[in-house]
């Protein structure tokens, strides 16, 4: 196949990444994971398995947590994609990121971007989560280092921090 032919198969896909609109020329079936990592140099999203089992590639698409290794590029046309790089705002870490630092939720760190986003997802659904809700909410994200205990602690620490901040805000 010549370069020209290869280009011909490409498609322009436009979507919002971390609040900024982007257009990439890509093969339509290229995985969103690769588009993010290769075309947009957003390497915070990781590949652990490439088959939807580990959650290392978790991102939000229109607010829904998905495995970006299972999503073809053309599917995000017009969507809002949020990755780990967009979580800290204005140089300030998100409460979940701070909690992972404080409670020891990251070891080797390769599962961490996906795990942090999954934790954000849990707390959006259950601001005051039970143990069971945390376990269930994170069951699609594998971690081989921590044994999960410190990750659970991180989620609970973040829940408290968010609750007390919101409380202050309301006061």
């Amino acid at each position: 196949m010549s370069d020209a032919e290869a280009r011909a198969e490409r498609l322009a896909v436009t979507f919002t990444v971390n609040g900024v609109e982007k257009t990439v020329e890509t093969l339509p079936m290229k995985r969103l994971l690769d588009v993010l990592r290769e075309d947009l140099a957003l390497t915070g999203t990781k590949e652990g398995c490439g088959e939807g089992e580990c959650g290392a590639c978790s991102v939000f698409v229109d607010g829904r947590l998905v495995n970006s290794c299972l999503i073809p590029a053309l599917q995000v046309e017009g969507s809002r994609v949020d990755t780990i790089e967009g979580l800290a705002r204005g140089g300030e870490l998100h409460a979940v990121q701070r909690a992972f630092l404080e409670a020891g939720g990251a070891q080797c760190g390769i599962c961490t971007p996906g795990m942090v986003l999954a934790a954000v997802d849990v707390l959006r659904k259950h601001p005051n989560p039970t143990d069971e809700q945390v376990r269930e909410g994170l069951a699609g994200n594998l971690c081989r280092c921590t044994g999960y205990m410190k990750i659970f602690d991180s989620v609970m620490t973040a829940a408290l921090a968010i609750a007390s901040r919101d409380g202050e805000g309301a006061a």
């Binding site: 590949e47 404080e102 760190g109 390769i110 961490t112 945390v134 269930e136 994170l138 081989r144």
Partner: protein, 753 residues
């Protein structure tokens, strides 16, 4: 100012990890970089008769490397030199690398690999320890024994002949296990004649890779440079195999005229081709007095080493040394063999042979208890090692441990005795649909290289003092998630008397840091950490000798002293080299003496509930009490224990490598099941620290210990729940069901299906 050792100082590289800024090897991009792939044999044993490239494929665009392109020696330098980088003639396992391909277009090169055919004349292959020992097929010397050890104490045969003893025999098996670091392996290399070789990658031991690359290209020390990228877990899996991948990437770059070549394994390739935990079989025969006192142990410990020697000798050594357990026993004999088969070589995995032999002796202790009518707790309490006792290698226990008290701590924390009683009641109730049980294991794990290993390594660490009293630790010890950067910074900042934030750890790069040895064997904190402490201490001593610092100092005074020193002399770097603690004597020939400078000691308790319909054992709680010496960072240390326990839970209950003709066939996360957030029980960790005189601030090692005990504790709990004697892991539901049915059949019960 406060000491940082003993506090949970925040992880040094933590912010990079939680923001996604940390750069792992697959995140690195270099100008002109192309992608490499590996074509492997698909046959377990045979001779290569030809390599066929499908016509019609644009081969002229693709970089192709075979063994014929290797500029130096085609041999991976490890303990024995028997494994080639690329098979040239003989194929010894089904994942043997034969051809390498590279191209800028990754999809194209993956496609190209399908158009290469390795023609092989097949030879008979062997896949079990017994077939290996039968040696009808010769893979290694005359007998396929890659390595053998005999460790003897007392007179075992005479002891067994004594009258009035109870003799207990048992055979135990453990399966292979995949490390499953969540970052699959990968390397980037730039290599060209005249320019040398530089590699960046996911690895544990930069100087192992360095040592392996030099002969491959016929280059000297300064011409090869190995740099660790941020590494997403290792657990032993990235101790040795990275040398192969580094060699492959570098060979491609060399052939391609020096363009950067990236070789990244996907999950399936990583699982099928790289090393796993050695499968094992242990036979134990024990003689015990009627009151439960151990008199003699005769152990035969065999592991499946796979097709090449690689690290099997040292895995075997550690497994064998630990095989008699943490028990007083005047007569013991441990005969250990690593056997060659046509599996891909098995390798290092957290625990390094000790989890295998620990599973055997801790299951066997239940049989011994049963034979003399003692409880699980009583048999252990009666025989636990204490200060002054002799281990199986006749090492005097120097650690001032109170092992029975440590066991009590675990029993109390888990409410062991009350639960045993309550569960017996629950299990006797005909209305209950589950069976509950609680089990215990007591064990130990030596820190650092075995015997004279640390003396041979002669590790070196440097500390560089920088302007403003800042400091940089120079070591080849890698951060792989376990916390090296953080604990080194804690140790160095205390030794310098400066805040934790003032210290950083240089990225491991053989061009910049001295060889502090491999990051394995729970040695990073205990052995290398001590060198960090000494090297940092030497900075202070140097400043005092120069008259720039008094006996006591504040951080600011140290900063001023460093600044004037640098003004005067330009630089301040101090180095420290390993010296064995006095009194450590080891004999490599007889395998007697101080096998390790210090041990971690532990008592673990597991609580299970088994569903009587599915036979699935569910863990309800786990308690881990251990002495690892002074705890440098409680948060990191607890994280190590929880992570190790969870890996061991996987090994005990879920993780089964399924083989066909020597290949792993379930090499995906869909069918190789590791513990998820939904599977782990609450894990309660406690430390009972007994400071170690020769460790940094009294610390010992922690990394491997928590892998050893959980599997037997869990299977002991399953025995308590169901009265079944499971002798292998993983104890999958079908294994549990079979044992239950066999027990019912033996009891003459009618079977309901």
């Amino acid at each position: 100012m406060g000491r940082t050792v003993g506090t949970s100082a925040p992880r040094k590289e933590g912010v990079d990890k939680v923001t996604g800024a940390a750069r792992y090897v697959d995140d690195l991009v270099m100008d002109g970089m192309i992608h490499g792939v590996t074509v492997r044999s698909r046959v377990a044993h045979g001779r290569i008769t030809g390599i066929r490239f499908d016509p019609g494929f644009p081969w002229d665009e693709i970089v192709v490397v075979t063994a014929a392109d290797i500029p130096g020696r085609n041999m991976v330098t490890m303990i024995e030199e028997d494994q080639p980088f690329l098979a040239a003639d003989l194929i010894k396992h089904p994942e043997e690398p034969v051809v390498l391909l590279a191209h800028a277009d990754r999809d194209l090169v993956i496609e190209a690999a399908k158009h290469v055919h390795i023609e092989v004349e097949e030879l008979p292959a062997i896949f079990s320890i017994d077939d290996g020992l039968a040696a009808d097929v010769r893979l290694f010397k005359d007998d396929n024994v890659l390595k053998r050890f005999l460790i003897e104490k007392g007179d075992v045969d005479a002891a067994f002949a004594e009258p009035g003893l109870v003799v207990v025999e048992g055979e135990y098996e453990t399966g292979a296990q995949e490390q499953l670091y969540l970052e699959a392996m990968g390397m980037i290399a730039v290599a060209a004649p005249g320019k040398g070789v530089t590699v960046w990658g996911s690895l544990q031991c930069p100087y192992y890779v360095h040592k392996a690359l030099k002969p491959l290209f016929g280059l000297g020390d300064g011409e090869v440079r190995v740099i660790q990228a941020v590494t997403g877990g290792g657990f032993g899996g990235k101790e040795e195999y990275p040398s192969l991948i580094a060699g492959h990437a570098a060979l491609l770059s060399w052939k391609a005229g020096g363009v950067p070549v990236k070789v990244i394994y996907d999950r399936a390739e990583d699982m099928v081709a790289t090393t796993k935990r050695h499968p094992s079989r242990t036979r134990i025969r024990t003689a015990v007095k009627p009151d439960g006192e151990l008199v003699a142990m005769d152990v035969v410990f065999d592991i499946d080493g796979g097709a090449y020697a690689t690290l099997s000798a040292v895995v075997l050594s550690r497994g064998a040394i630990h095989a008699a357990g943490p028990y007083r026993c005047p007569n013991s004999r441990i005969h250990a063999r690593a056997v060659a088969t046509n599996h891909p070589p098995h390798g290092a995995f957290r625990g390094f042979g000790a989890p295998q032999s620990c599973f055997a002796y801790e299951r066997h202790m239940e049989r011994v208890a049963e034979a003399v009518g003692l409880s699980s707790v009583a048999i252990r309490r009666k025989n636990l090692l204490g200060p002054g006792d002799l281990t199986a290698t006749s090492q005097v226990v120097e650690d001032q441990i109170d092992f029975p008290a440590l066991l009590d701590q675990a029993l109390e924390a888990s409410d062991f005795e009350a639960k045993r009683a309550a569960f017996a009641k629950h299990n006797a109730d005909p209305a209950s649909h589950t069976r509950k049980g609680i089990g215990v294991a007591t064990f130990y794990h030596g820190g650092g290289f075995t015997g004279s290993g640390e003396v041979h390594l002669a590790s070196v660490v440097g500390v560089e003092a920088l302007r403003g009293g800042r400091a940089r630790v120079l070591a080849a010890s890698t951060e792989i998630g376990q916390g090296t950067n953080t604990i080194f910074s804690q140790i160095a900042s205390d030794a310098l008397g400066v805040p934790y934030e003032w210290v950083e750890v240089a990225a491991p790069d053989t061009g910049r840091v001295p060889n502090s040895g491999p990051t394995v064997a729970s040695r990073t904190c205990m052995v290398v950490g001590k060198l960090v402490q000494d090297a940092a201490g030497a900075v202070v001593t140097t400043l005092r000798k120069a008259g720039l610092l008094g006996e006591e100092h504040t951080p600011e005074q140290l900063a001023a002293a460093v600044d004037s020193y640098l003004e005067r002399f330009g630089e301040l770097r101090t180095f420290s080299q390993y010296k064995p603690p006095a009194g450590i004597v080891w004999d490599d020939k007889t395998y007697r003496g101080a096998a390790y400078a210090a041990y971690g000691w532990a008592a673990y308790v597991a609580e299970v509930e088994v569903d009587l319909v599915t036979y699935e054992p569910h863990l309800r709680g786990f308690w881990a009490v251990q002495d690892i010496g002074t705890v440098i960072n409680p948060l990191l240390a607890a994280g190590q224990v929880e992570g190790g326990v969870t890996q061991a839970i996987g090994w005990a209950l879920f993780e089964e490598v399924r083989w066909r003709e020597g290949r792993m066939i379930n090499n995906q996360l869909t069918n190789y099941i590791i513990p998820t957030a939904a599977d782990v029980p609450p894990i309660h960790v406690a430390f009972a620290p007994v400071p170690f005189a020769h460790g940094p601030s009294g610390a010992k090692g922690v990394g491997e210990l928590p892998m050893d005990g959980p599997a037997p504790a869990i299977v002991n709990a399953i025995e308590d729940a169901l009265g079944i004697d499971v002798r292998r892991v993983p104890a999958l539901p079908e294994v549990v069901m079979e044992a239950v049915l066999a027990k019912r059949a033996a009891a003459g019960e009618v079977q309901h299906v």
